[in-house]
Symmetry: C2
């Protein structure tokens, strides 16, 4: 019996990917369901990942002048209804508060599914002149959408996210902000989560309710399904007109500002699991992992082992590393398996035989590489090992992504691709929603994921209807 | 006309304290009401204070082993009802969700007024052995209580807070945690917010719903009213029994764990305003202020002034100081008044005459002291000036508090004190709720704020009924 069986076996990815996912989430204690149906507890191991995502993104936001705010969680029904497309998109999936204490409310309130209307109301009261612009706001909060089927991190009724909302004096400036925030998402996800993405613009049918344009980053999970991982929207002045948000421009004329919003959520934790995880559990990229190294004393009852392990722990802490030490009485095999299950990037084995030679063994979680390091050098070597691991994890995921992008120029070819392989299929498209619907129906669920910023010319005509093609689209089955 | 009139006059504190408070909140752009009645927008200037409170407290929590989690915002009615005292305390003031999308729910859900029951449910599923204990959790979130009358930061339907929840194998350990967290609140509020407090245990009538003991820190506002600023509760095993949370102890016997919770909210922003603010606006303690120094170039059109101001800004930023620069075209007087209104701890005036002598003028917000500093020394002197200012602000508030604590041994004396002066009145108390009610009625609202940890012996008998006294109590009118 393998040591890892001591921890608790995880279903193999190739046997049942959905079960593998649930096993990892449960056994690594990331989240669990509650008696509030479709709502989760974000447990310490899961929430700590979100805290690191928050800290990292928040810094990137603030470096571009974003200021954080907090808006009410409740929205009066009349306010939600002010922008037609928006309310049509969200009204069917909101939760309604009808009573406060023991009394029925005069007007019912919905729990925010997103907060565009509250920001517009705020701007209506606070924007007068071009000197007040731009307003570049963000909030970290939870939102609620009454989803029927839920999956941990990927889709739950309530989830945590950030929603940025901005208004600008000109269309150009608003569009530049939309693009800037998509770039931040792209860089954060690729650099810190080691997750490569394809990115571009959504087709009209996949746009956010009320937006003029929606941009997206799309990651590819190990099972070949896409996960929309962050979106940035340009709204034009539609909401501002609906909410009567106006400003006096430099020529002393009244104008409507141009608006953006952009959001990224705890779904990303699902992406980290499904891009990097393996049959032994979670594999966390060093730059986002709450604990970067677990020190595991072997034969910890030996005084020298305990002394060296404790000193190493203190030294690494003092050097600002995120490090933990497993001083439990479990077997080394159990401790190794537990560190692997939790996805801690490396373990530092401190054993009596190694100590005779003045070294410890560092084992990488992603490829099990063993690196012998002299005790004195651990503090300087560990950051280097973690940096290389981060880079290797990205490259591995990038290779996987590249190996799962194909193209099709005819429907039989497209159907064959979606029947026999997984990942993205590039194809030309006429611009009509009817063809997207047809492709979705025939492939059993593949949707247009994005029109990339750099389109290729694969053919002259739409893969579906044969009419002249307008764009190249990434199609894929998605979470 | 005084320069500050250019900004916008604030009602004087002595004229109308409530209006002064609203003026400061509004004109410093800390928060504003929304069409969701009784709910506020935390605007950037206000939210940034909360972010600093969060960062500072969160570090203090984590240093003691606290782990953050996130629980659902909705609680099924049946779950809320499991602990009798608790539901009696909160049911009258919760908001009820009755519909999801267009469909009525089978069971209605309340928006959390606090999350004890969700933590208990979680523990019921996750605690088995003494090895699983203690569990020391906290969450940063918003809660909602259906208050009838609201005031910015002090009382709103929805507010932001942290709620810590822990369970322990023994009563001693749980009581020690209750005390530890109260100590953290005390130290944080006194050291970082420069707000002195009186502290101790709540009487039974002022306890949290379901708690065995509630401990509190109580600050004194400039108008002589108390503000409960943080509470820490010991629950015994009552909730664990109601929720069937059990563990196997070291002797292999089943036991119920002992529980605590502790919370602190955005009320504290109200305390900062009302303890330190003056007739020119906000005065923020340096250790919690989002911006610690505002550089104000005087005659900014002069190239040398602009150069020195910009270099100073870059140098202070590089040194890790929280600094801003006012490059607007407003008059120096307007800029000074605006910096004062916002409560930024110091301004650094960069003017042509000073520059001839190679110096700048640093002006403290709290006492208007002007400190001449050579340009080269600003980076080293500024932290010193801020540290002294922090200490002075605390001492000033401490003197104010000490000057507003009196004592009474008879009811006529007590009534006279509450009629003619403001602040706390110390008095002996028999332990009966009837006397608390009587004191409240006769004084027009003074309640028992706390039984201090170090009681004095003022008399042998209760100030109200004349029966033997059990405790010394701080009485006060409170927000």
């Amino acid at each position: 019996m393998n040591d890892k069986k001591f921890v608790e076996a995880i279903t193999a990815r190739d046997v049942d990917f959905a079960k593998w996912y649930t096993d990892v989430v449960t056994k690594a204690k990331l989240c669990e369901y509650t008696s509030t149906k479709g709502c989760m507890v974000y447990m310490p191991n899961g929430y700590a990942i979100w805290e690191n995502i928050q800290a990292n993104l928040d810094k990137r936001f603030k470096d571009t002048g974003v200021r954080n705010v907090y808006m009410p969680m409740l929205i009066p029904e009349s306010l939600l209804q002010k922008e037609k497309d928006h309310v049509n998109g969200f009204a069917p999936e909101v939760a309604w508060v009808t009573h406060g204490g023991s009394e029925p409310l005069e007007e019912r309130l919905c729990i925010r599914p997103t907060s565009e209307v509250l920001f517009c109301e705020h701007w209506q009261k606070n924007v007068n002149s071009y000197r007040d612009l731009p307003m570049v706001y963000n909030q970290w909060c939870s939102v609620l959408r009454w989803e029927k089927t839920t999956r941990p991190f990927l889709r739950s009724k309530e989830f945590l996210w950030q929603e940025g909302h901005t208004i600008h004096a000109t269309q150009e400036e608003a569009e530049a902000r939309t693009e800037m925030m998509l770039n931040i998402y792209h860089d954060f996800v690729e650099e810190d989560l080691a997750i490569p993405v394809v990115w571009g613009r959504k087709t009209d049918s996949e746009k956010f309710a009320g937006a003029k344009a929606t941009y997206t980053i799309e990651a590819l999970m190990h099972d070949g399904k896409a996960l929309q991982s962050g979106t940035s929207h340009y709204f034009g002045d539609g909401f501002c007109k609906a909410f009567d948000v106006k400003f006096v421009n430099q020529d002393n004329k009244m104008e409507y500002p141009h608006q953006t919003s952009w959001g990224l959520s705890t779904r990303l934790i699902g992406a980290i699991i499904m891009v990097h995880g393996d049959d032994d559990g979670l594999v966390l990229p060093p730059r986002i992992s709450p604990v970067q190294a677990m020190i595991i004393p072997i034969a910890h009852q030996k005084e020298e082992v305990a002394n060296v392990a404790n000193k190493l722990y203190a030294d690494l802490k003092a050097a600002g590393m995120k490090v933990d030490i497993d001083l439990s009485k479990k077997t080394p095999g159990f401790k190794f398996s537990n560190q692997e299950l939790l996805g801690i990037p490396v373990r530092i084995e401190v054993g009596p035989r190694d100590l005779e030679n003045g070294v410890v063994t560092i084992v990488r979680r992603d490829n099990r590489e063993k690196i012998i390091v002299t005790i004195d050098e651990v503090v300087t070597k560990l950051p280097e090992i973690l940096a290389i691991m981060q880079k290797d994890m990205y490259q591995k995921a990038k290779d996987f992504l590249n190996n799962h992008i194909t193209s099709a120029t005819t429907m039989p070819e497209m159907l064959e691709k979606f029947a026999n392989q997984t990942g993205f299929v590039k194809a030309m498209w006429c611009g009509e929603e009817a063809c997207e619907d047809e492709i979705k129906a025939q492939t059993g669920g593949a949707t247009s994921r994005c029109i990339p910023f750099e389109e290729e010319h694969l053919a002259d005509v739409c893969v579906c209807c044969g009419k002249p093609a307008k764009h190249m689209v990434y199609f894929g089955k998605a979470y």
